[in-house]
Amino acid sequence: MLRIENLHASIGDNQILRGVDLELKAGEVHAIMGPNGSGKSTLAQVLAGSEAYDVTGQVRYEGRDLFALSPEARAAAGVFLAFQHPMEIPGVGNLYFLRTALNSVRKERGLHELSAMDFLALCREKMKLVEMDQSFMGRSVNEGFSGGEKKRNEILQMAILEPKLAILDETDSGLDIDALRVVANGVNALRSPDRAMLVITHHQRLLDYVVPDRVHVMAEGRIVSSGDKELAVALEEHGYAGVGAEVQASRRSAVGVAP
């Protein structure tokens, strides 16, 4: 579904991604772990279409060149990013926002737009998934939401937009254990053979609930180690220094590449 080859990304002189290679098949859940500043969030932003970065390399999504698509075209094609820091949009109702998003995507996918009534029914059903109550719907998008509410709202949006490729950027950060369980249940409910997920996290904790097929460790803009879920457990025990050899190797090669 997704094939990333030699992906580089930078802002100005600041090189953030230094050659990421990754392949994700339909039905798979991959976790990406790594210390702060290793480029995890940049990878998520670049895949979703952020225009803040200069990008080189190749990303094929369902056989298409992902970089030829605008952010909204990617959304319509089924790419979804659950933001680490969801934006607030004052004065715009959550329900209205979601319906506009869904109908924009449906239109691009050649489906008819949902009426307000049909949408409301769909929304009520999906809200149960993330245990959100009705009062969320009348409020402005993310405005005055707690950290946990924002993250649940992201999962609700994901459930409604039904993406093929879901990227979750630190959706677990800042959540207490109950909120984490709610979010994880939401994510698990959306696992399906047609859907791939890229779960970015700092902590192995989330992976106790959302069990990944593969775990990758990122450091200094590259994937330095990959394995099954045991790798995440090892990381939790030994820290990122435990995969130190690979980090060193990455540093050497990065220095070698830089002029």
């Binding site: 979703a48 279409g49 952020s50 225009e51 803040a52 030829a68 698509l69 605008s70 952010p71 909204e72 075209a73 990617r74 959304a75 319509a76 979804f80 990013l81 933001f83 969801p86 934006m87 949009i89 004052p90 004065g91 715009v92 926002f97 506009t100 998003a101 869904l102 924009s104 995507v105 691009e108 402005s140 949006q157 937009l161």
Partner: protein
């Protein structure tokens, strides 16, 4: 789907949609301003002597005044001798009803989307349509007459209700008020008059559509609304003008009088021609609007959505004279391309426990410059007065500007006056968030801007709120890149 990022400068240039000119046979007086011109206007309108005298007093006073230049806008000199002060569509015959209205005129209204016939049949809104200074058709008069509401053109009121006009004309905005109000007092040609008798709740929303059609005409209309004790009325004003290279001057005066327990809600959607993308042409909208809460417990509320005009310069205010009276001002002002707006309000607290609320939302895009200028004045007599002001500015792109000049004068130490102001940008992050959810960039911008204005839009009557939102979407089309 294209991925090319849109360009601010290219896209802000939204074409004006109402820029057609209607070929009406027009009766005009010669260019220029003199006592003779004024006498000619007055005689064409068959006015009583006291009104001509009033006009001439205003004119003589005007000759002693200098055009104000303190406002934060920039424009070339206005040649007051090069303006046609009176232009009326020549009636083919005297009008017996809507069916007799000039078909050309009807077509024009159809283009504006306010077919009078439709208005009358469907919307339940009474429209007093003013084209080039003369009120051409007043609908719903009969229905209003049943409850004693007088809603007619200003000229007609001068003929049929001279005492009311004489009592209230200039009682809120005296002819000496300011340069443009004084000019208007000298040369005003028509406008709307509305009188709601004691205890009557006006059964329908009253509406006036203004439109400047003839070239080089100034529009100097005069609106007077009087609500007697316990009366309530909601009044809507909408404006458009055709596209012309030269600037047109619009210097109107609106006076509102609310007596005891009366309520007046005045809503404006102003969409005068703003000039082209280089800033050529467009309407100079220099308007004096003021309401007087003369009686206790009265309330006057101004709501305005200003998306048009090359220059907008107006401060709808409320004089809170009656005890416990309430003044409100809700405003959305948009400046795109080279538009300039210097707008705000004046709240003058005189009576005890008077309250005022000001919510101003300014949006600047392209090279637009938007200024909020507001005065909150609490006199010594205004025991327990309260004011709350919120000024929010939203910037789209990096070539525009937002400015805030609040003036606060408090002479009573028990008064509470609060002022809040924010300036924000439609951020790339917000846009990216919306786009990542599948919402196209332009739709996302419109959504963010509409969200920003929601507080004001909810004050508008329903059909106006929809129109305002649509206007804003159109005016902003492509303001992001």
């Amino acid at each position: 789907m294209t991925v090319a990022p849109s360009d601010v400068r290219e896209l802000v240039g939204q074409e004006y949609q109402y820029g057609f000119v209607t070929d009406l046979d027009t009766d005009v007086v010669p260019r220029g301003l003199s006592e003779n011109t004024i006498a000619l206007i007055s005689s064409k309108k068959n006015e009583p002597d006291w009104l001509l005298e009033w006009r001439l007093r205003a004119y003589r006073h005007w000759l002693t005044l200098e055009e104000p230049r303190w406002q934060n806008v920039d424009y070339g000199p206005i040649d007051y001798q090069d303006i046609i002060y009176y232009a009326a569509p020549k009636p083919k015959a005297s009008l017996a009803g809507l069916d007799d209205v000039d078909p050309e005129l009807r077509t024009m209204f159809d283009k504006l989307g306010i077919s009078l016939a439709e208005q009358e049949r469907l919307s339940g809104v009474a429209v007093d349509a003013i084209v080039d200074s003369v009120s051409v058709a007043t609908t719903f008069k009969a229905k209003l007459a049943e409850v004693g509401v007088i809603f007619c053109s200003f000229s007609e009121a001068v003929q049929s209700h001279p005492d009311l006009v004489r009592t209230y004309l200039g009682s809120v905005v005296p002819y000496r008020d300011n340069f443009f109000a004084t000019l208007n007092s000298a040369v005003f040609t028509d406008g709307s008059f509305c009188y709601i008798p004691k205890g009557v709740h006006c059964p329908i929303e009253l509406s006036t559509y203004f439109r400047i059609n003839a070239a080089d005409t100034g529009q100097f209309e005069r609106t007077l609304i009087v609500a007697e004790d316990g009366a309530t009325v909601s009044y809507l004003e909408g404006c458009t003008a055709p596209m012309r290279d030269k600037n047109q001057l619009h210097a109107a005066v609106v006076e509102l009088v609310a007596l005891e327990d009366a309520q007046i809600k005045y809503s404006t959607v102003q969409n005068w021609y703003p000039g082209d993308a280089e800033g050529r042409g467009g309407v100079y909208n220099f308007v004096t609007k003021r309401g007087k809460c003369a009686g206790a417990n009265s309330k006057i509320s101004w709501t305005q959505v200003e998306t048009g005009s090359a220059i907008t310069w107006k401060y709808p205010g409320v004089v809170l004279q009656g005890d416990n009276s309430v003044g409100e001002f809700y405003s959305v002002a948009l400046s795109a391309n080279h538009q300039q707006a210097d707008t705000g309000t004046k709240m003058i607290h005189i009576g005890k426990n008077t309250r005022s609320t000001i919510v101003s939302k300014a949006i600047s895009a392209g090279h637009g410059q938007n200024t909020y200028r507001g005065l909150v004045k609490v006199l010594r007599s205004a025991e327990g007065a309260r004011n709350h002001t919120r000024c929010d500015s939203l910037l789209i792109g990096s070539d525009c500007g937002a400015h805030t000049f609040p003036y606060i004068e408090v002479k009573n130490s028990g008064a509470q006056v609060e002022h809040e102001a924010t300036t924000s940008k439609v951020s790339d992050d917000q846009l990216f968030y919306c786009r990542q959810r599948g919402i196209a960039e332009e739709d996302a911008t419109a959504m963010i801007v509409n969200g920003f204005c929601r507080e004001v839009f909810k004050e508008l009557p329903m059909e106006f709120a929809v129109e305002a939102q649509r206007l804003l979407d159109v005016s902003l089309e492509g303001s992001v890149g």
